[in-house]
């Protein structure tokens, strides 16, 4: 069944109602303070209430009968989700590995992996692009700008 924008609005409105109420309640636990001395909970409390109210309006509005804009399918292609997931997981893997293995090596693996899996390239291209990127990034960030990127236990 094709979805319309008001369905999407309904879902996101519920999400924001949750967020707003969460922050409001949280604001009370860290002390809203008095008017003459507002505490740390002052801003979360009031902003949370405002967000909740606005989200309720969005929710109510979504039940109006009118010509709602038709939304495209959530994933444009059947295999879209694979590429999306691969990209996110690769970034997480990069983050987890690069303190251990060192910036240059993990950069090489990261680029090579994405090139090979998401839109598969041939090996020659993959290796050339990955090594060029790793070396250039190393030169710019470590040797030129002197940033303190982790070198890993291998020392580069």
């Amino acid at each position: 069944m094709e979805k319309k924008i008001n369905h999407y609005n309904r879902i996101s409105a519920l999400f924001f109602i949750g967020v707003g109420m969460f922050f409001s309640f949280y604001g009370r636990t860290v002390e809203i303070g008095a008017w003459s001395e507002p505490g740390p909970g002052f801003m979360p409390f009031w902003s949370g209430i405002i967000l909740t109210i606005m989200a309720v309006f969005l929710l109510l509005g979504s039940f109006k009968r009118k010509e709602w804009q038709v939304m495209p399918p959530f994933f444009p292609l059947a295999d879209s989700w694979k590429r999306v997931l691969t990209a996110f997981l690769s970034m997480v893997a990069y983050l987890l590995l690069f303190e251990l293995l060192g910036f240059t090596l993990v950069t090489f693996i990261f680029i090579a992996f994405l090139l090979k899996t998401v839109f598969p390239q041939n090996w020659k291209r993959t290796l050339i692009v990955a090594s060029a990127t790793a070396i250039l990034a190393r030169l710019i960030f470590i040797n030129f700008l002197r940033t303190q990127l982790p070198l890993g236990f291998l020392g580069f």
Binding site: V30, S47, L58, G61, S80, R83, I111, L115, L149
Partner: protein, 505 residues
């Protein structure tokens, strides 16, 4: 003529080979860190500080200042090319700049950004020379209630940032305010929603947020499409803005420059606020506000000029009061102390060579930047010719490294990935991300100023309307908020909605 003498003095200081050389090094480094997302001028200046110890203070300040305004120049490049704002000030450039690039007009977008920055930079230096001392008092007139009123006005700007639903733009804005309360409360020291992670105690980082919401989310959306599309095909002869572009841009550039300069004087994240404000002003004044966000050149010209001119404005409180109004200037201030210069209200009188030398170097630096950047446009556009399957891992890599190099914190990188996921989903639900960024910027200042105001007034909210400046700002805010309900303005807003097919607000 006093000013003339000063200019001569400044030129004498500047036109030594060594100073010109380091001015060039400064703007070159600045352009580089500006183009690299994440790594900003603050980090670059801090990293390079030790290498300036053997220089004279004037030379060092000329170079360090060059890094600062050079970075502002370079900041727009990645926003336009690949939708990664290198810093918060160029978030707004993404809205229309990236759209222009998608239409094959990356060249004119980059060109107008460079020219606009040049014009704004030059104007703000003239402003700095002519009106620095009297204007310093202007910054002092702003106390907590005035700042709160200004921030509130900033939030109302969200209405004009919205391309689609106003309600959803406001909601995402308030959501941003809520996110900005995460971390240690700067007034009471209470930890809020940090879950024991100390890195969160400084709040949700702005750079991880913008790189995730814009850069990462954009890449992921592009990956969904199976077709391995190339980002754009640009004909080389369209590299520069044409006559029509200039006609459209010249007023936004001038307005942006003036706006940026005045906002720049005020402490806080002035380049960001001035860029957002300029965008809102241009959209409000435009004959075709509905086309903003689809790649109109005014949406690049105004904000880019504003954020550059704000950098010039930011030097005023530094030189006249010794007050740093942002983190970059704070590092510069620290540098003064290392060279044994006591910053403070007397600085211009005590060290005229330093002040006028720096000012003159900014002229030269701006010319250098223009000369440096125009040929670069040709190269940048070539970047877009790299097929997307090869380009996208590199974009992601730059996001990862850029965020990590800020504070060497893995938590911030994780945060960026999280914002990437949020940004990706929010696009599916048709929420815009620019209001979120603006709210993250304004949030902390808004919160501390409303609370300080209430402490000062002992709980009396009338403080916001009894102070004249704040009363004025509040009045403007009020008018803007009710304007949709006043028929003749409301009609225009409605027309706008019909055109973009938005739903009711």
């Amino acid at each position: 003529m006093d000013l003339l003498n000063h200019l001569v003095l400044g030129s004498q200081v500047l036109f030594t080979p060594i100073n010109i050389f380091f001015c060039f090094i400064g703007v070159l480094m600045g352009t580089l860190v500006g183009v690299l997302p994440g790594l900003g001028p603050t980090a670059a200046i801090a990293l390079l500080l030790p290498s300036t110890f053997h220089m004279t203070p004037v030379t060092a300040i000329i170079m360090l200042a060059g890094i600062y305004y050079g970075a502002m120049y370079g900041g727009s490049t990645t926003s336009i090319l690949v939708n990664i704002p290198g810093e918060a000030a160029s978030v707004i450039t993404c809205l229309d700049g990236y759209q222009m690039a998608l239409k094959g007009r990356a060249g004119p977008a980059l060109g107008i950004a460079a020219f606009g920055s040049f014009i704004a930079g030059t104007l703000s230096i003239i402003g700095l020379m002519l009106v620095a001392p009297p204007l310093a008092k202007f910054a002092l007139a702003f106390g907590p209630p005035e700042y709160f009123a200004l921030m509130l006005l900033g939030m109302v700007v969200l209405i004009y940032l919205a391309a689609g639903s106003m309600l959803k733009a406001l909601m995402i804005g308030v959501f941003g305010l809520l996110l900005s309360t995460i971390g240690m409360d700067s007034i009471s020291g209470t930890q809020r929603l940090t879950f024991g992670i100390l890195e969160f105690s400084d709040g949700v980082g702005l750079i991880p947020a913008i790189m995730g919401l814009f850069g990462v989310a954009e890449v992921i959306v592009n990956l969904e499409e199976g077709i391995t599309r190339s980002v754009v095909t640009t004909r080389v002869r369209d590299l520069m803005p044409n006559l029509q572009d200039w006609k459209d841009s010249i007023w936004p550039i001038l307005r942006g420059s003036v706006l940026g300069f005045f906002i720049g004087i005020l402490p806080g994240p002035a380049p960001v606020i001035s860029a957002f404000t300029s965008y809102a002003v241009e959209k409000k004044l435009s004959k075709y506000p509905e086309r903003f966000g689809t790649g109109v050149i005014e949406g690049v010209a105004g904000p880019e000029s504003a954020n550059n001119s704000a950098t010039g404005g930011a030097f005023i409180p530094l030189f006249t009061l010794g007050i740093p109004c942002n983190s970059v200037i704070a590092v510069l201030l620290g540098a003064f102390m290392i060279y044994g210069i006591q910053p403070g209200p007397m600085m211009i009188d005590k060290y005229p060579d330093l002040f006028w030398g720096t000012v003159m170097s900014m002229y030269l630096g701006n010319v250098m930047l223009l000369v440096l950047n125009l040929p670069l446009i040709g190269i940048w556009v070539q970047v877009l010719k790299v097929p997307y399957p090869i380009l996208f891992p590199i974009i992601l890599l730059f996001c990862l490294i850029g965020v990590f190099s800020l504070n060497y914190s893995s938590v911030e990188v994780a945060l960026m990935i999280g914002f990437g996921i949020f940004g990706y989903l929010a696009r599916k639900f048709q929420y815009e991300m620019a209001p979120l960024v603006l709210a993250l910027v304004l949030g902390p200042m808004m919160e501390s100023n409303v609370r300080l105001s209430l402490v000062i007034s002992q709980g009396d909210p009338m403080i916001f309307v009894t102070h004249p400046i704040s009363a004025g700002l509040m009045a403007v805010t009020f008018v803007l908020l009710v304007s949709p309900f006043i028929p003749w303005i409301g009609k225009r807003r409605k027309k706008l909605q019909e055109k973009v097919g938005g739903e009711e607000v």
